[in-house]
């Protein structure tokens, strides 16, 4: 399907066939054409050309930015569609489909009729397609892409003869290999037949020889069918628009029950759901929730939606409701701790409730980090989706309960550590001090790291025990409060 991205753009309602049309993408520091339509290629434009060149050739060119992700999603949708012809279907690159039609062709009236049917159906989707049938995956690919007519059929056993005039580009190989082959004067596949495979392997690598063998079926190259992950979604259309909260809740209950039943059947659990409302005037609202752990329990999902559902504006009434599990994971019902599964699942529900209102990045847990710097020895990670956090090793030396500042102190009586100082407007006298503990910077960070620091645990006469720090390399020394001990 050489014009798949343009065809996809055309299907969204853009009248691409009326114009000189191309999709553009930024590549190698320039905006380049990534796909052109029929008129544009007649005018001499081609993919890979820079946009400025293309404009110079055809000033009337209309362009849109390419959307590779949407194209990939469209291709995989086509792959699922193609399963009606054969159970063994796969995507080939960014713009092709490969079907293993062994034992399927006669169901559609033979190979030629099947080829015509597939092309016809794709044309109905307004997709330009080129097709080819051959013994092996590689040969069929070459026939479709380089066959010229777009309906090439290579009869069984004739691949060698039929492929001889094809250019070497018809094989799956990287640019460097193709360049090497051309430098050696090997421009068509037929040129390779006379060569010994050992010679070829020495020149262009073993991978290419392997590809060559695959082309003629001497090496296995099966079509690996893409099994789709089951999608969990359910929708409900109402004969009359609904607007009462009870009705919405009942509909949600039924949708959730359907999805959870299917989740149980597939041993999957859902981590996030999306509920779409379509109003009578075709406008919509989307509510989404997350859960702390993959779940199959309908009640849990309903309780999480219950917080948000009251805020939905029903407008003139809701026509359609659609519930979809957006994130699914394999479900493992495990007892996570001796606190009891009941207690644990209650805690997970609390995490979900808090996370759905505040955001899951606000519900946090500590995680140890391997660093000797006090500020770097832990980090806060999202609590959702995590098993219980790892316990901390007891620190090698005393660490404060709270870190502050670092707050500069004003020294009233000098010393090491200072005998008297003012911190946050209050005067302190040192009663006793422990230290210094020297903590170096992370030398592997080079000059980016902090300076070396000396830390003292200072018991003040006023009561608080403070963690004072200073830099040994500075004269006169500057003192800071880095933390407070309990």
């Amino acid at each position: 399907m050489p014009r798949l991205p343009v065809n996809r753009a055309g299907r969204t309602g853009i009248p691409v066939d009326d114009w000189l049309f191309a999709l553009t993408q930024e590549e190698k520091g320039a905006v380049r054409l990534s796909c052109v339509n029929h008129h544009a290629s007649k005018a001499g434009l081609a993919a890979g050309m820079s946009l400025t060149d293309a404009r110079a050739i055809a000033p009337a060119l209309v362009t849109l930015p390419a959307e590779p992700r949407k194209d990939a999603a469209f291709l995989s949708a086509l792959q699922r569609w193609a399963e009606k012809f054969s159970p063994w279907t796969a995507c080939d690159g960014a713009d092709g489909l490969i079907l293993n039609i062994t034992g399927c062709a006669h169901l559609f009236g033979g190979e030629e009729a099947m080829l015509a049917l597939i092309r016809q159906e794709l044309a109905d989707f307004s997709i330009d397609a080129m097709a080819g049938i051959a013994d092996t995956k590689g040969a069929a690919r070459a026939a479709a892409r380089f066959g010229g007519t777009g309906r090439t059929i290579i009869a069984p056993g004739e691949a060698r003869a039929a492929l001889a005039p094809y250019p070497v580009e018809a094989m799956v190989a990287d640019d460097k290999t193709l360049f090497d082959l051309k430098r050696l004067g090997l421009t068509s596949i037929g040129d390779l037949y006379g060569l010994k495979s050992a010679e070829l392997a020495r020149r262009v690598g073993f991978g290419f020889v392997r590809g060559f063998e695959k082309l003629f079926g001497s090496a296995a190259d099966p079509v690996i069918a893409q099994t789709a992950r089951p999608t969990y979604s359910a929708r409900m259309s109402f004969p009359d628009p609904i607007g009462l909260i009870d009705d919405v809740e009942e509909a949600l209950r039924r949708l959730t029950a359907q999805i959870c039943k299917r989740l149980v059947e597939h041993d999957d659990g859902a981590r996030a759901f999306e509920l779409t409302f379509q109003r009578t005037d075709k406008t919509g609202t989307i509510l989404s929730i997350g859960l702390a752990r993959p779940s199959q329990t309908p009640d849990l999902v309903i309780r999480q939606f219950a917080q948000k559902i009251t805020r939905v504006d029903a407008g003139l009434g809701i026509d359609v409701m659609r519930l979809r599990a957006t994130v699914t994971e394999p479900f493992r019902p495990v007892q996570q701790s001796f606190a009891g599964p009941q207690k644990q699942s209650e805690l997970e529900e609390l995490i979900a409730t808090l996370g759905n209102r505040l955001g899951f990045d606000r519900v946090l847990r500590w995680e140890p980090v391997s660093s000797h710097l006090p500020r770097r020895s832990f980090r806060l990670v999202s609590a959702a989706g995590k098993a219980r956090s790892v316990s901390f090793e007891p620190p090698a030396s005393l660490r404060p309960l709270t870190m502050v500042g670092p707050d500069l102190v004003e020294i009233t009586a000098p010393g090491r550590p200072p005998k008297g100082f003012v911190w946050r407007g209050e005067g302190f006298q040192t009663a006793s001090a422990k230290g210094p503990e020297r903590i170096g910077h992370e030398w592997w960070l080079g000059t980016q790291g902090d300076a070396i620091r000396d830390y003292w645990s200072v018991q003040t006469c006023q009561g608080p025990r403070l963690w004072l720090s200073t830099r040994p390399d500075l004269k006169p020394s500057i003192w800071e409060v880095a933390g407070v001990f309990p």
Partner: protein, 198 residues
């Protein structure tokens, strides 16, 4: 009741489960840890306060794996989180930080939530108000211990809905696997300084 229930031999009053209590003063966070004791705990407060607590320092007094943190830049969110967590009963205690005492209505909501979930609420308040709907109000100040390895906290119970007020010197010593607590009566309770203006 947590680690503080080790003090059953002495005449100290300790925060009761199913209620919300208010702590103020420089050692309030340490007292909250001691009062919460074992079990799942939830810390709720502004991001700066959450980030300032050092789990390695904390691990000497409680297991950091038992904590869950909620960082709420807005006071309304912090109140809602505290109330939700107290009501759910899925955490044993909620330690929440507020810059000032929540107003009487909000505080009453918290009390009802704590009673429903039978959980312990401990509010650490930076600037305590004159009146508060707390079950008990404590002012906790660090004092200088005789022995430098231990912690001495001067605890003043200056409001108690259900009993007498009082003041104690709480002595916390870290033994190998547990904490040694000891409380001695210390005269009249001290009220927190009234904040004037800002």
């Amino acid at each position: 009741m947590g680690v503080m229930s080790d003090l059953a031999g002495t005449d100290i009053i300790y925060p009761e489960r199913g209620r919300v209590h208010e702590l103020s003063g420089m050692s309030a966070d340490m007292v909250a840890l001691l009062a919460a004791g074992e079990g799942q705990k939830l810390l709720c407060g502004p991001p700066g306060w959450i980030a300032s607590i050092h789990p390695e320092g904390l691990s000497l007094y409680a297991d950091p794996a038992q904590f869950l943190q909620i960082s709420c830049p807005l006071k309304a969110d912090a109140l809602w989180s505290t109330e939700t967590a107290l009501r759910s009963g899925s955490v044993d205690s909620v330690i929440a930080w507020f810059d000032s005492t929540p107003d009487l209505t909000s505080f009453r909501r918290l009390q009802l939530a704590a009673r429903e979930g039978h959980s312990l609420g401990l509010l650490i308040v930076a600037r305590p108000a004159v009146s508060s709907a707390a079950e008990t109000r404590w002012h906790c100040l660090p004092a200088r211990p005789e022995n430098n390895d231990s912690t001495l906290i001067h605890l003043s119970l200056h409001k108690n809905k259900k009993g007498t007020i009082g003041s104690w010197n709480l002595h916390v010593k870290r033994a190998k696997s547990h904490l040694d607590l000891d409380a001695a009566p210390a005269g009249e309770p001290r009220r927190p300084d009234r904040h004037t203006g800002r």
